[in-house]
């Protein structure tokens, strides 16, 4: 799967997570977040901010049960600030 970290998340994640095989047992967004909490605890803490958003295949997703497959692009977005 493709993981995309934007803004300050990108600086924390670096490039090491950009293209990783779907971890065994991960089937949902919640599963992916649990996996990150185990393997990348510092990054996972940063991702849990109240205003962090997740986009799956470039669509904002709020449901933790949203299914995830190996061909999906999952993006973690810090609070946005355009304009």
């Amino acid at each position: 799967m493709k993981l995309v970290f934007l803004g300050r998340f990108r600086e924390l994640a670096g490039a090491r997570l950009s293209d990783v095989p779907l971890p065994a047992g991960v089937r949902t967004l919640q599963g992916l977040q649990d996996w990150l909490a185990r393997t990348e605890p510092d990054l996972a803490v940063a991702l849990t901010g109240a205003r962090t958003q997740v986009a799956i295949n470039q669509t904002l997703v709020r449901d933790p049960a949203y299914p995830i497959g190996d061909r999906d692009e999952i993006a973690f977005l810090p609070p946005m600030s355009g304009g």
């Binding site: 995309v4 934007l6 803004g7 300050r8 990108r10 205003r51 986009a55 470039q58 993006a75 977005l77 810090p78 609070p79 946005m80 600030s81 355009g82 304009g83």
Partner: protein, 161 residues
């Protein structure tokens, strides 16, 4: 609104707001009002000197989301043409960051469209800003005030954007 047009452009190149405006709505005779706003990179923010501002986008997603916000505002306020140009990448003080322009039959709709879209961009456009200067580097996140403005705007407009 058969002529309702929304144009959104994300650009890594510096742009000239006056030049963008000169093409916008050219030749139309059915519109009475053009309102627009340009946000510039300042050399000081909150007492810190700014050497450079870097804006990061999520390619594809960013343009699509801004287009969605602009379409929503255009429908709500009944603008004719609505345009957004947003700079990304490395930006120097004095350069334009964002241009929002709205054509409408009357001035109120044009003003409101620009203002509402600016409020939304501040909190809902997938863009991330980093300021660097002599005092170091920091990511900028929307203030509680920006969120309050946006929520207020949302409430006033009575629709969920």
């Amino acid at each position: 609104m058969p002529n309702n047009i929304v144009k959104v452009r994300i650009t890594e190149q510096a742009f000239d707001p006056a030049l963008e405006l000169s093409a916008f709505g050219a030749g139309r005779q059915d519109t009475g009002a053009l309102a627009n706003f340009v946000g510039y990179c300042r050399d000081m923010t909150a007492g810190r000197r700014v050497g450079e501002l870097t804006i990061e986008q999520y390619p594809g997603f960013t343009e699509r989301e801004i287009t969605r916000l602009a379409n929503q505002v255009s429908r709500e306020l009944g603008t004719l043409d609505l345009m957004v140009v947003h700079r990304v990448g490395a930006i120097r003080p004095g350069e334009a960051i964002v241009l929002v322009a709205a054509l409408a039959a009357h001035r109120n709709a044009a003003f409101e469209a620009v203002r509402l879209l600016m409020d939304y961009l501040k909190t809902d456009a997938p863009l991330w800003k980093k300021e660097s200067g002599p005092d170091g580097v920091r990511w900028i996140e929307p203030s509680a005030h920006d969120h309050a403005r946006r929520d207020q705007a949302k409430e006033k407009s009575g629709e969920k954007v």
